[in-house]
């Protein structure tokens, strides 16, 4: 096996490791683009992870498992949406509470699931496939298109979301809601409806992200299986400057960093010495990068790259 094959294999894993991040990031973008900072990504991912696995085990039906995962994330998002939209609760506190709730919920449901393995047919139908033609592209083909359909759907979803945001009227209306809900309402947009729909859709994405771990990547249930990936996704939303295409890059890049973390724990030979980089250092990398990006976007002041203007603030139409 040549070094090129090794790199190929490594990057293939990076895409897999980036997939939950990408789902989570897209979920975060959906929510933040309507002006709602949802720190509950980690919680929704865990809810999705455990429900997906549970339904997969019970029914042996991969489609139902994936659907259950998305719906579980969506229920988490619904709790968040009701509190922050209808009752105008504090978004940060609600998001944090959702994460704590999701963690507890997943541990509760998953208590009897450790050690249980996923039915063969579910595993098989979610295993990596060769996409005709595309997987034949030299180098890139195997990395991106010799993957589980589950991974691929994240990639497709990101592209679709980009088109949705920038080319369709729904996307325009949605951006308007996130920037200035009172302007949106004055333009005849139902801001509350847009917020609910997109926050719930975001929750669905997060649920899918979590279940990728339990259905494809691991595939087992372990307590707290997401291990902070939801938080990286929250950071990635900023890293990607709320752009789904940049989110693809960001998620795979951080997936690669995580992959690198596993490799580096065993040490790499440099000038005859076996240098061991502690995994903790690599775990820090996403956050350090995010801080750097935050500094950068505050410095360059390009208005288009800033957070949606209304992010984090409740909206009440009859506010005086």
């Amino acid at each position: 096996m040549s070094w090129l094959n090794a790199v190929e294999l490594f990057l293939q894993t990076a895409v897999q490791m980036g997939t939950p991040l990408l789902f989570g990031t897209l979920g975060g973008i959906l929510s933040e683009k309507v002006g709602h900072l949802n720190l509950g990504v980690e919680g929704m991912m865990l809810m999705g992870a455990v429900m997906g696995f549970q339904v997969g085990v019970l029914t042996g039906n991969p489609a139902l498992a994936v659907l259950a995962a998305g719906l579980a994330g969506m229920i988490g998002a619904l709790i968040y949406a009701v509190i922050t939209i209808t009752f105008m609760g504090n978004q940060v506190v609600t998001g944090l509470a959702l994460t704590i709730f999701g963690t507890g919920f997943s541990s509760f449901i998953g208590a009897g699931l450790s050690g249980v393995s996923l039915p063969e047919n579910v595993q098989a139908s979610l295993a990596a496939v060769n996409i005709p033609l595309l997987s034949k592209i030299p180098f890139f083909g195997p990395i991106f298109f010799q993957q589980s359909l589950y991974s691929l759907s994240a990639l497709v979803l990101a592209v679709l979301l980009y088109v949705y945001l920038n080319k369709t009227r729904y996307g325009l209306n949605m951006r308007m809601v996130g920037e200035n809900p009172s302007a949106a309402e004055a333009s005849g947009i139902n801001a509350t409806l847009y917020k609910y729909v997109h926050i719930l859709a975001g929750g669905f994405c997060c649920g899918l992200g979590g279940a990728f771990l339990t259905l494809v990547f691991v595939p087992r249930w372990q307590d707290n299986i997401t291990a902070g990936q939801g938080w990286i996704a929250v950071a990635l939303v900023i890293f990607a400057t709320w752009n789904p295409l940049k989110a693809i890059f960001g998620a795979y890049f951080f997936g690669m960093l995580r992959g690198l973390g596993f490799k580096l724990q065993s040490g790499i030979p440099i000038f005859g010495h076996n240098v061991v980089i502690p995994a903790q250092i690599l775990d820090m990398l996403p956050y350090i990068m995010t801080i750097a990006v935050l500094v950068f976007i505050t410095m360059n002041k390009k208005k288009e790259n800033q957070a949606p203007a209304w992010l984090g603030s409740p909206y009440f139409r009859e506010e005086r």
Partner: protein, 511 residues
């Protein structure tokens, strides 16, 4: 000829907590008329129009449209009924282009057809005589351009009723004339145009009929042609008011130079020159007015003099001492006082969530001895200010943000004047105030002037600046265009200077 009635509001009521904003208001709009809604601040004009445009839902009363009763649960429904409103604070998204702001919420189909949208926007522009660059981002636009976008937004939705909330507050005289032309075009197209204002000359110039509101009630609706400004003012305020501004005479002994600004240059947050090479002097017993379109460096000039903003170069000499580099606190101690009323009224100077006493104490507590704050003295002072400036509040314990706009401004100005400054800088002190309250404030400024205080008055209303000030400084883009004699210059000429155009002959108006 009697025009057809289009909209009829009957017995509209709306309360916000303890405040009755609208009480049984009746209003009738006809097709092809310009209808002025005249009233003091807090008289319920904006509330009423927000009800008509579906933003607030009324507590009582009915809206009749073409003879049929309607109820709007959201702005969307009002828009569909053909009612559009241009709000005082524009409802636009900065990072989107004019076109995106205009079409949002309105296009059919899934994908946006940009070319077709641009075309339909330009068609509307042509029909009503408007100009706009559809692809320009809002954050690159001037205030009047933004207003144009708002108007097109309403027209694009096929509005047959256009409501303009204080549209001329931010415009130069030339821009106002263009706006009035657009309004007349709309009238010719059969639309009903409502203009909310408290400027009497505009009511007389543009409207066909005028409805006067006072304290949430509709007082009268009259044909403008049969009304006089005095009569309307009396209806609006409830008593006769002298509308003449007085340029009071002061004891010449008091007139000596207090402030001298030399070649002042200030950079703003984005490191651009917000004030560039500005020089002027100001004497005690004098009101120096500053005119200029929004963001021409007025705010930065105020903040530079009071030490809140770093000065790049130049001198600020106060009573012979260069105060550049001193902390704001030291500058206050020397007798310089700033009351800046920002657009949202609460951004600077007062803490919205604190009560009147604490806000009054904010500046004077530093002069108190010891560790603890003496609230008794603060209460006394607050009560004095409340009485002296006739602030309507349930008590000095009232949280400032619960007061009406005019009263908030009085608290701010009252506190500053209470400190007995030698230099009083006041920016937009009458922003959004009603006539009565405005004239109160002009009187206060004149009193200060007579006491020998040097007053720097940054204002918006050119009529007031020309009537009240001893000299008028016109700023454009951070530079002083000219310092003119208000007795010799016309409003139009000031308007030209404000947009950076100098009349033939250069410094013709320099005194």
């Amino acid at each position: 000829m009697e025009k057809e009635v289009f909209i009829k509001l009957e017995n509209i009521s709306k309360t916000f907590g303890p405040v009755k904003a609208n009480r049984n208001i009746n209003l009738e709009l006809r097709k092809g008329e310009i209808h002025a809604l005249l009233g003091e601040n807090g008289s319920g004009k904006s509330t009423l129009m927000n009800i008509l445009s579906g933003i607030y839902s009324p507590d009582g009363g009915s809206i009749m449209l073409d003879g049929k009763q309607v109820a709007f649960d959201s702005p969307k429904e009002a828009i569909e009924a053909g009612i559009g409103m241009v709000h005082q604070h524009f409802k636009l998204v900065d990072v989107l282009s004019a076109q995106e702001n205009i079409i949002a919420g309105q296009c059919k189909g899934v994908f946006i057809n940009k070319a077709k949208m641009t075309e339909s926007i330009l068609t509307i522009c042509k029909k009503y005589g408007l100009t706009v660059n559809p692809n320009k981002k809002i954050y690159n636009m001037s205030v009047s351009e933004k207003q144009t976008v708002e108007i097109i937004k309403v027209l694009y939705r096929g509005a047959k009723v256009l409501i303009l909330d204080e549209p001329t507050a931010v415009l130069t005289p030339q821009e106002t004339r263009v706006l009035f032309e657009i309004m007349r075009n709309m009238k010719r197209e059969g639309c009903a145009v409502v203009i909310i204002t408290h400027k009497m000359n505009e009511v007389m110039e543009i409207s066909d009929r005028v409805t006067v509101l006072r304290k949430g009630e509709s007082i009268a609706t009259i044909d403008t042609s049969s009304a006089t400004p005095e009569q309307l003012t009396e209806l609006m305020v409830g008593k006769a008011i002298d509308l003449d501004l007085e340029r009071v005479q002061v004891d010449p002994a008091l007139v000596k130079e207090v402030l001298k600004v030399e070649n002042l240059t200030v950079l703003n947050g984005e490191r651009r020159e917000a004030v560039s090479n500005v020089s002027f002097t100001l004497s005690g017993g004098e009101i120096l007015g500053v005119a200029g379109i929004a963001d021409s460096g007025q705010k930065e000039l105020c903040e530079a003099i009071t030490g809140m903003m770093k000065i790049k170069s130049g001198k600020v000499v106060f009573k012979g001492e260069n105060i550049v580099g001193l902390s704001p606190r030291d500058i206050i101690k020397r007798g310089v006082s700033l009351s800046f009323v920002p657009e949202d009224r609460l951004g600077m100077g007062l803490v919205a969530g604190m009560n009147i006493i604490d806000n009054v104490l904010l500046k004077s507590y530093q002069n108190m001895p010891g560790l603890f704050v003496d609230r008794k003295e603060g209460r006394k002072k607050a009560e004095e200010i409340v009485q002296r400036f006739d602030i309507s509040t349930p008590g000095t314990n009232q949280i400032v943000k619960r007061l009406s706009g005019g009263n908030i401004q009085k608290v701010l100005l009252g506190r500053e004047i209470d400190l007995e400054p030698e230099l009083l800088i006041t920016a937009y002190p009458v922003r959004g105030l009603d006539i009565g309250a405005s004239y109160n404030i002009y009187d206060v400024l004149n009193q200060q002037k007579q006491k020998g205080v040097a007053v720097l008055f940054i204002g918006e209303d050119l009529d007031v600046l020309l009537g009240l000030c001893d000299r008028l400084m016109v700023m454009h883009n951070g530079k002083i265009m000219d310092i003119v004699d208000p007795k010799k210059i016309t409003k139009d000429e000031v308007g030209m200077l404000m947009v950076g155009r100098r009349p033939e002959g250069g410094e013709l108006y320099y005194d």
